[in-house]
Symmetry: C2
Subunit: 233 residues, 2 copies
């Protein structure tokens, strides 16, 4: 089936993101040492994030609010104003972190742009994602930039409708099986999974690895060839 | 000049918003009474919001982070975990507040939809704005829904380009001279200003009231007639 449009995820597919969240979480855990062992913090934070997802959505601002709330809970209200201020600073640093492209990204995006219409599809804070896209220097390669609140089947269906692309002729490239691959396969499209070094706990998912329209590669450098092969199948 | 597309702002044009922020700010000011008089809080909070705008953008999550930061500053770090938790709860309440349409909105939107292509143009948290649009029951009237990080000349130019609308044939309706009216007039479009009962300090602006393509009405009910009159000029 020929491929007309390729969608690319952004965080942890084009540039580093989860690594910054992990590093922030380590500093955050150390900050709560007077009240709780660092090893216990991530699970408590994840629980708060899950609870808050329906209120805050994805992104660094909601993450920061969840860090503050978890600190209050874990310290039984004893956490002091100075530490809360440090947590807000963590959030600001996450929002202002320079964009670091993954190795091989500019070449891979350029190669894909030669053969396909390109869409960037990402979720998170609108303002933060726009800043990162602008800083990446990649915006011009993309016909469409879609910042969405959730990456599920209705979102991809709406996006492909607006672009005038038949779902089977769409291939999504990303590091998250749950957000990038599963909904697109469900619509009859194709997917190339490029795992990142770490995966956020909320992005874990089970996807049938033997799906005929799914490929997995070790690096973004291998994506153009993988898409071309999927287009031949 | 005929009008082809009408853009409508959402917060404080279609539904109440700033009133909720004001009410929250009053409760927030009362919470800081041990350290500072309630009358001094709004100016300090506004200063934090201005400083944080480049990091957080618009919306209730950034507002909540600014409230927390201001509380720490004004209390010289003494604000306790319980009060911080109450502030986070203020933020969650803002995000979950039921959508209350302004009087006459459904009728006005319906009348406009009979004669023009409609676009909803709003800024703020992507996730929050999407929730409000869904809850408003108005989404089907709009050909385009644009949630943007800033409402300035480049944003409107991009939006009109994507919709294939010549700027002089666009009329924007909203409560903010700075965000809804001035940039559209600058592009050669038309504007109908519908002041809301309160205006956020950051939205104040000076606009030439005698501009030939600007009208001001007292209620959304008067908007269809105002747009029709602008189209005749």
């Amino acid at each position: 089936m020929p491929i007309e449009m390729v969608g690319l995820d952004a965080d942890d597919t084009l540039w580093h993101s989860e690594g910054h969240y992990r590093a922030t979480q380590e500093r955050y855990s150390a900050l709560l040492e007077p009240w709780i062992g660092a090893a216990e913090v991530p699970a408590a934070l994840l629980q708060t994030e899950r609870r808050n997802l329906a209120h805050f959505g994805y992104g660094a601002k909601g993450f920061t609010l969840s860090m503050i709330e978890t600190a209050i809970e874990l310290s039984k209200g004893e956490v002091d104003g100075h530490r809360i201020h440090v947590i807000i600073e963590f959030g600001r640093e996450l929002l202002n972190h320079p964009v670091e492209l993954l190795d091989g990204v500019p070449e891979a995006v350029e190669a894909l742009a030669d053969d396909f219409r390109l869409a960037l599809v990402t979720k998170g804070d609108l303002f933060h994602q726009e800043s990162k896209i602008a800083a990446s220097g990649l915006a011009d390669a993309f016909e469409r930039v879609e910042i969405v609140s959730e990456k599920d089947v209705p979102t991809y269906a709406r996006l492909l409708g607006a672009a005038g692309v038949d779902p089977p002729r769409f291939c999504m490239v990303g590091n998250s099986l749950r957000s990038d691959i599963a909904p697109v396969l469900a619509l009859g499209g194709a997917g190339v999974h490029v795992p990142y070094e770490v995966t956020w706990a909320m992005e874990h998912a089970e996807v049938d690895d033997t799906h005929p329209r799914l490929d997995r590669v070790g690096s973004i450098r291998d994506v153009p060839a993988a898409v071309a092969a999927l287009a031949e199948r």
